[in-house]
């Protein structure tokens, strides 16, 4: 057993390394993108958080042909105007405002624009970093686009300054102080150089342009790829704060290269496959969820759609699951990245291959027919006699017009994974009980799945149960599905699952109950038999109850394990839990109320005794001051003490310590004053009597 597993594992590894993984079907930009754009870019009262985001939204809406811009126009134009008129705008400010304006078309006076143009020209003269050049040049380009004449007088010098920041590997630096080069900067620089060439009043030196073309080719040498053939650009040095992901970097390079190719004469020496790989990268992202990523994807795809190097043609499959039962056709669409029509071409199904069934013939070199109305290439698969299963289809596009080869990129051979499904028949199913010696005690019963009859079998521990059948595909071949199981369930609780073995022609299982005694916990009784057959290529995967078998098993010996506890209903853990009985300390025995009240009375008796004693002693109030002010303070003093004692009573009954202390503080101050007054008066009178 072990060597088999080992060799199988090794074989799988080798296969995985050798095969190029077939691609999941990529789709061109569709209505899913359009509705997602409307959901991602939502202005608040017509305004976006910044001019940069406004531009992203407007450009995306423009390319996709969606969105209502009148409210955005109304709210954003004042912001744009203010930005352009402001004397302290930076190059970035002008750039943001001008490119938003190029889409919105706000009413901006030509004087303002000319003023902006002259400011930009001054900024270009004094610029030294790549971003300053970029913002100023592109801003000036937008000004030109709005009808104001904007000409760069020293185009050669500006071209030279931007070019001076380039590196030998095709990347650019952001400024002369920074030694780190960046691919993203390369895209920006190329876009700026394209702008310089369009703004120049004369010809720019062709040799310099040739050097830049050479740099672009070198830049494309550093392109990276994934296994499925997508190509992208990535930064070599990843600086934490300024890190732009592969999407942003690739988008920047695409913009730069496409803009540059559009303004220079002659072709760039970039193979169409690389553009195709980049287009594939941008499309396999699907629908991004972040607005900046969405903008980068759509913007760069729009540059690719109309670029002068080569336009990629995307082959996509609307459906990768084809059914033999409903006689589906294999349908293929060939469009540009935005779904526009492709030039006249033919799609060829070069090869189909499957890793599973070896004896079905693989199809080779089938030409797909073209449906003009729906713009779809199709092929009937039923006449091809392909059986159900998982297939890798290889397609190739051939253009009708050989001149189009220079304009379009077809992407060579493309692989796609397709499922062919169909109805699988169960042939000759038989079930029965056999004796130990292998001969059947009763004849094997034929099952009929369509009739849903249930069989009743009886067996003891010395016998065996046998089930066998054949699985046949629509084309008549033996089929090996992914899952073939039989389940024995004892009285609705304990379940046992067995896998059926497959031989060349049929599936069968023989359950030897003597060997299985311990596995089924020696439980006698009625077992329900269920058969489960399933596969991705089967349209009629099923779980059938075949019947039941009454097993008589001997008593379990002492050491046998009990069946595992059955899992409780999944949702019972959300129901009420068991009642928790708390054990409280038994409360202390309290005395009867009458006893307590009696002693309360007893406690008050000494007070009475005290008062009687006072009377006996002849206590009098002669010392109480008679004149008004001291008398008043005495009365207040005694009242204050009484109030304090009352406060204490209330403290015991309902107040908390904080309230009590607050009130006590007030009363205390009062008591101090009155007490001092009273006692000092008494002291003075007593000294008077003494001296007297």
């Amino acid at each position: 057993m072990a060597p088999d597993h080992g060799s199988f594992g090794l074989g799988a590894l080798i296969c995985a390394l050798m095969l190029i993984c077939p691609a999941a079907s990529i789709r061109p930009i569709s209505d899913a993108h359009r509705s997602a754009a409307l959901e991602l870019f939502v202005p608040v009262d017509g305004l976006f958080p910044s001019l940069e985001e406004t531009y992203h939204a407007l450009r995306t809406f423009l390319i996709l042909g969606v969105g209502e811009t009148s409210e955005i126009n109304r709210a954003t134009c004042p912001v744009v105007l203010e930005k352009l008129k402001s004397p302290s705008s930076s190059p970035k400010g002008f750039y943001d405002a001008l490119r938003v304006n190029s889409i919105l078309g706000c009413q901006i006076g030509s004087e303002t624009l000319e003023d902006v143009a002259s400011q930009l020209r001054d900024l270009i003269k004094g610029a030294d970093s790549l971003m300053d050049f970029y913002y100023s040049v592109i801003g000036l380009l937008h000004v030109k686009g709005q009808g104001v004449s904007a000409v760069l007088s020293d185009a050669q010098g500006v071209f030279h300054s931007i070019k001076a920041l380039s590196q030998s590997d095709g990347r650019w630096r952001f400024d002369s102080n920074n030694a780190e080069s960046s691919t993203h900067a390369a895209g920006i620089a190329l876009e700026a150089l394209a702008g310089v060439v369009s703004l120049a009043d004369g010809e720019v030196d062709q040799s310099k342009i040739g050097i830049v073309k050479h740099d672009i080719v070198k830049l494309f040498d550093s392109i990276k790829s994934y296994d499925d053939g997508t190509l992208y650009f990535h930064e070599k040095h990843i600086d934490g704060s300024e890190y732009e992901g592969p999407l942003a970097t690739t988008a920047s390079v695409v913009r730069g290269v496409a803009s540059f190719a559009a303004v220079v004469s002659g072709k760039l020496n970039i193979p169409g496959d690389k553009i195709f790989g980049i287009a594939k990268f941008l499309l396999t992202i699907g629908v991004p969820g972040i607005s900046k990523d969405f903008f980068n994807q759509i913007d760069s795809l729009s540059y690719i759609e109309n670029n002068r190097i080569s336009i990629p043609l995307i082959l996509s499959l609307p459906s990768t699951v084809l059914s033999l039962t409903t006689k589906d056709q294999l349908k293929v669409e060939v469009t540009t990245v935005f779904g526009s029509a492709a030039p006249p071409l033919t799609v060829n199904l070069v090869q189909t291959s499957t890793s599973e069934v070896k004896n079905t013939p693989t199809v080779e070199n089938q030409e797909l027919q073209f449906d003009q109305e729906n713009n779809i290439h199709y092929l009937d698969i039923v006449p091809l006699k392909i059986d159900i299963g998982k297939y890798t289809l290889k397609f190739e596009i051939s253009l009708h017009d050989p001149e189009n080869l220079n304009i379009y990129a077809t992407g060579g051979r493309m692989q796609y994974l397709v499922f062919l499904t169909g109805y699988v028949k169960v042939d000759n199913p038989q079930i029965g009980v056999l004796d130990t010696d292998g001969e059947s005690s009763a004849s094997l019963v034929k099952l009929d799945f369509s009739k849903l009859d249930k069989v009743s079998l009886v067996a003891n521990h010395l016998q065996k149960m046998r089930l066998s059948f054949q699985l046949v595909t629509p084309l008549g071949h033996t089929f090996k599905p992914h899952q073939v199981y039989i389940k024995l369930r004892h009285e609705g609780r304990v379940e046992h699952i067995f896998q059926l073995e497959s031989s060349a022609r049929q599936y069968k299982i023989q359950l030897d109950f003597l060997a299985l005694l311990e596995q089924i916990y020696y439980l006698s009784g009625r077992y329900e038999i269920e058969l489960a057959i399933g596969d991705a290529a089967m349209e009629n995967s099923f779980l059938h109850i075949l019947g039941h078998i009454d097993l008589t098993l001997p008593d379990p010996p002492e050491k046998v394990s009990r069946p595992p506890p059955q899992s409780v209903d999944r949702y019972s853990r959300f129901g009420p839990k068991q009642e928790i009985l708390h054990i409280f300390r038994t409360p202390e025995k309290r005395p009867p109320k009458e006893l307590s009240f009696t002693f309360l009375g007893f406690t008050l008796l000494p007070l009475g005794g005290f008062l009687i004693g006072l009377l006996t002693l002849g206590v009098n109030l002669k010392g109480f001051p008679s004149s008004s002010l001291p008398a008043l303070s005495s009365i207040l003093f005694h009242a204050g003490i009484a109030a304090t004692l009352l406060l204490y009573g209330l403290f015991w009954l309902k107040f908390d310590l904080f309230t009590t202390l607050k009130l006590l503080g007030l009363l205390g101050v009062f008591l101090v004053f009155t007490g001092h007054r009273t006692l000092s008066y008494l002291a003075s009178t007593s000294t008077k009597t003494k001296t007297n």
Partner: protein
Amino acid sequence: MAKSSSSDAQALIRSLRSAYAATPTKLKIIDLYVVYAITTAVIQIVYMGIVGSFPFNSFLSGILSCVGTAVLAVCLRIQVNKENKEFKDLSPERAFADFVLCNLVLHLVIMNFLG
């Protein structure tokens, strides 16, 4: 012998009583107050003896209030007594003010502890 001892005891008591009668009224009031406080404490102890000491904090609070106020009264008596040379400079009014203040603080604590 027994007779002489009992007569001695009686003579002792008689002399104590006569001496006590000479004490000023103020001091007698204070003594009466102390007796009152202690009696109240004894009654509480008897009650606790009958019903048990639950809740203990209430019992302690009651006892200590009686004992505390008795102690403060004794201090007052010492300070007010004219025959006491130590406290000649302390006026009785000041002693009384201290007595009142200390009692108020004591009873605040007692009330808090009473529960």
